[in-house]
Subunit: 214 residues, 2 copies
DNA sequence: TATATCATGTGAAGTAAATAACATTAACTG
DNA sequence: CAGTTAATGTTATTTACTTCACATGATATA
């Protein structure tokens, strides 16, 4: 039976964390796990774990717990990770380079199949087995590799224009690393990864603690 | 009057966004702004903007709005960004390199003053004007530069050990880029930046839309 | 100086999320 | 095979967050 309740984004976020934790348990040969153990492992409450899973069905056995491999597969499937996802990226600077070589994406079934830049000094360079291409090549790559998600790793000033172009090329979702809120049509899925926001939460919190500083 | 109410983390996150938006307005020569304009600029509701600010005081003028430069300074001060913050980082791989050269940190008053690695092939290399140092050098750098915050940009398997070492060296807060929940004492402030979680929120959401795929 | 307009600040109302509590079912024990 | 323990799934409760609505104070206008 499919639950049609709206799922909180926080739940999806935690699901991603759970599934990675389950992969680790599985690699370590653990076959069974309880909501309490998952909770301890990722730093939430056991009730939260069960509640999150309850949005999608019943995956455990009362009195026993969860089968690690099964729950891992279920969570991956829920997240849409039971398949392979091809991505394109714009921005071949240091951040773009780091993201292209980031193992964490591959481990979750993501492949960056095209890297684009408008900087002539960057076009033609190689990142792993990819050549940095001019922006005009994007439509072909997208078509050839069935790409639906684009990553923006450009300087802030270019981000909006790049996003607009991506949408023109048919992208349905954008992961934006530029610290700028993008203005896009509602039907486009966008999430921002702002590298310094979390840092500023830390400085905010440290502000209430003993300064002991210069 | 100081409000002692607990401030939601979501509010702090938005404050960080507001303050960057205000900096942009200020650079563009805008001197006055309303909660509605801020709201439109960053994609939240006007009431939300006012509520967020209300946790910290009254910064506007009724009937008029906010002075851009003043509000910018207030928000920066609230976030603890009215001062300079020195950081250390462990992990001189591609991600570490990208973070070291990331302009967004400098623009907000952050400086990475030490980069460490235990990989002998990386130690001695230069990133900008910094030399990659062995882990043993961390305590001296921290003391010399009054560092309170550490960044972890290592492979997942090293992250916990690095975090423990940072705390031994006196760090009070950690920004962790490794996709692994760290187990640390309560008095340490930790935030994780997981590069693929947001990507998986996108795939989750795309899962409910027309597949049109292979 | 009265009047109209504007936009903040805030208490109240509404919504959403997290936690607690417990009934249910499975496994183990003697 | 009854009794005990364990851990899920789910309802109820509490807490937290957001939105609404409006009184308040400021500016502009005639």
């Amino acid at each position: 039976m499919v639950k049609t309740l709206r799922v909180p984004e926080a739940t999806v976020t935690r699901l991603s964390i759970y599934s990675r934790y389950l992969e680790r348990l599985d690699r370590n040969g653990v076959t069974s796990v309880s909501s309490g153990e998952i909770a301890d492992g990722v730093g939430v409450s056991p009730a939260q774990v069960r509640k999150d899973l309850a949005y999608f069905g019943e995956f455990g056995t009362r009195g026993v717990g969860y089968n690690v491999k099964d729950l891992m597969r279920y969570t991956l499937k829920i997240l849409g990770l039971d398949r392979h996802w091809n991505l394109v990226m714009v921005g071949a600077g240091n951040l773009g380079y780091a993201l292209c070589t980031y193992k964490g994406f591959n481990m979750r079934g993501f492949s960056i199949v095209g890297v684009f830049d408008n900087d002539l000094t960057k076009i033609g360079k190689r990142i792993n087995d990819l050549e940095v291409l001019p922006m005009e090549s994007m439509p072909d790559i997208i078509k050839d590799h069935n790409v639906r998600i684009g990553i923006i790793a450009t300087p802030t000033r270019a981000a909006q224009e790049v996003a607009d172009y991506m949408i023109k090329c048919g992208m349905q979702a954008i992961l934006n690393f530029a610290p700028l809120p993008l203005t896009l049509p509602d039907y486009i899925e966008v999430r921002n990864v702002d590298l310094s926001v979390k840092l500023e939460i830390l400085t905010f919190n440290l502000g209430f603690k003993s300064a002991q500083n210069v």
